[in-house]
Symmetry: C2
Subunit: 394 residues, 2 copies
């Protein structure tokens, strides 16, 4: 009688959450030090001190009325102006405060954007591997999802496969680079090719095809790798940003949507974003956090810790004989399972108290995701176990 679909969604835990709960059980049974839990994508580095200082300063210098009243639905005008200016100066992209919409984080950015652009039965393309909630968000918005697998070993886009899937029904494609779970960063060459293909198909079908750039990991890149800013390469782009990972504030739910001024009828597109935010119940993004992020744009947590973890884990696993995607960004290693069934491999890893997630849940079989947003010490202690684990396959 109530919505069965929503009931099922509420009951069905994600595989990631199942593994994490298993970890909680094991931590109780054998002690937290003996469980090597690489299951969650929860930032392990605290928010930078400047965030705490900024919130305190705001509380001390502004009145409660200034801090806690409704902002406009799109977000405070000053906050939006600062973000537009940041986008222009950092990425050299054309921007506009009136095309910025403050959100309650990346998930809200995505659901609002999808509900803004999708008409029933429109298709949204997902590039596997992808964050599993994309399917939930897109289907709730009324879309049908089509999956295109990225190509090994570099996890760039398989353009032949992509071209086969694009149709007159294609409304958009979600691009998540740096990628969860692969850690891959799409190169400038890939983005240029993607833009060319989408432009060609848009002309061929007389449609607009949107890139939804899901960018919570934009700042989490290592070794000087560049992350192309997609609005500079493709006009019909909507950037979905979140401060959750860069500032280690995932609980606070703060991010934004940026509609490119070069998008077709960008004013209407932005209006649709505002309308969708309204209809989904997003009155405004949390005000105190809006004012806070305005003051710390461009700042990040100390991501050198992730870089250290990445090198430690990647180098060791390669040395032991594992094959992994080159981890240029985010905080995940995507490792080839030594047996075809990644879930079976994850089960075997449990024998070493190592908790990792099969790629199947991300739409990509034969791989596992290892989150390295964990304590460095835990990684160090786990290495010998990873070594023994792969030795079982010799």
């Amino acid at each position: 009688m109530i919505s069965e679909k929503m009931t099922q969604l509420g009951k069905k835990r994600s595989v990631i959450r199942e593994i994490f709960e298993y970890g909680n059980l094991r931590r109780k049974e054998i002690g937290a030090d003996n469980v090597f839990d690489f299951s969650l994508g929860n930032p392990s580095i605290p928010a930078p001190q400047i965030v705490t200082d900024t919130i305190k300063r705001l509380l001390e210098t502004k009145s409660p009325m200034e801090l806690h009243s409704y902002t406009s639905a799109q977000g405070d005008a000053g906050v939006r102006a600062a973000i537009a200016e940041y986008i222009a100066s950092t990425f050299g992209a054309k921007s506009d405060p009136n095309l910025i919409y403050m959100t309650c984080g990346a998930a809200a950015s995505l659901t609002i954007t999808l509900n803004a652009i999708v008409n029933p039965t429109d298709e949204i393309i997902l590039l596997a591997p992808f964050f599993p909630e994309y399917t939930v968000f897109a289907e709730k918005a009324g879309a049908v999802t089509r999956v295109v697998k990225c190509s090994e070993p570099d996890f760039q886009i398989d353009f032949e496969a992509l071209e086969r899937v694009i149709s007159p029904k294609t409304k958009g494609i979600i691009v998540n680079s740096p990628n969860n779970p692969s850690g891959a960063v799409l190169s400038e060459d890939t983005i240029i090719k993607l833009a060319a293909l989408l432009n060609k198909k848009s002309v061929e079908y007389g449609t607009d095809i949107y890139i939804i750039a899901d960018e919570p990991y934009r700042e989490l890149v290592y070794g000087g790798v560049a992350v192309p800013y997609i609005p500079n390469f493709y006009d019909n782009t909507v950037v979905c940003y979140s401060f959750s990972k860069s500032l280690s504030l995932p609980g606070e739910r703060i991010g934004y949507i940026f509609v490119s001024p070069r998008a077709t009828n960008c004013g209407d597109l932005y209006a649709a974003v505002c309308g969708a935010g309204r209809a989904l119940g997003y009155v405004c993004a949390p005000s105190l956090l809006q004012y806070t992020v305005k003051e710390v744009l461009g700042k990040t947590s100390d991501i050198s810790v992730y870089d250290k973890n990445r090198n430690l884990l990647y180098n060791a696993l390669c040395e032991y004989g594992y094959t992994a995607v080159r981890p240029d960004g985010a905080f995940y290693l995507f490792v080839k399972s030594p047996e075809p069934d990644a879930a079976a491999f994850c089960e075997r890893a449990k024998g070493y108290e190592i908790l990792i997630v099969p790629g199947d849940d991300f739409g990509y079989e034969g791989y596992v995701r290892i989150s390295y947003c964990v304590g460095t010490e835990m990684i160090e202690k786990s290495l010998d176990r990873f070594k023994k684990l792969i030795e079982e396959y010799r």
Copy 2:
């Protein structure tokens, strides 16, 4: 090509917002002191000092990881336990932390609940006058809305009219008491009759009919009026609460959903709430504010100011010859328009620089809403104008 419905929603300003924007224009033209803007329902009293103190204390005593990490999707377990305990001890209602779901405010509480219970073409009943966004939220959830007008002069429920509208398709009824815009509080007698009618109809049709109790104004009552706690009277109740008005924190987006443990299959209903929250992109409610409200449950802003404003305005308007609904709660006066066309009356009021909102937008013609969540001084200065305004109709 994008969603036309969302585009229209984003473009079409609410009448309230139109009037407020007109006020901004007039403030620039003739000075803020000369504009008597009663259009918005924005709390005019600051958040109590204890809120600021609590946020500061949390920042000083807890680590950023403790404060800003993801909470579970339903909300932090400790926060939910405290709210469940508060509900039990304050209202004597059966409660359960595992039936509390923390939300980004009342609008989120409503959209999540509606998406949880509604199947396409289900009907949701609205009691006019009602908050205009109800229509937007219900329709986006796939429901058809049916409107039942409350009865004059006390704005309780017209049970004959309600009974005519209830059908096998009725999935729920939104009850908002204290009411925006009428200020009326539904009496215990009314709630008892409502429960009896809904129970009778549920049996007759073999359906579950939910009361969605939208309660952001619960604590804003005056003169010792009691607001019945609906879960104590009717089993299939979902309470949608927000701290926006009671603590003057509308920008922070913090509230909760409470599924009554006495609801049919309350576990499934709660799962549907969790599923809907997930599908709409609500990952968790803002964490710092979750921990903050836990520490100040039962506290409110200094609502004696609203009470003072209420008495001042209500008594004066009655003396001048206006007729108004008895304002027991919230911070609105609902006043009978001296001419049948309330919009024309509002236009005439503009001649005195008085900005008020026609009831038409709230589904109720012939009345106007006057928000008294404003400075007392402004009310004092406006009285003579209200007097002259009604004298025009003599």
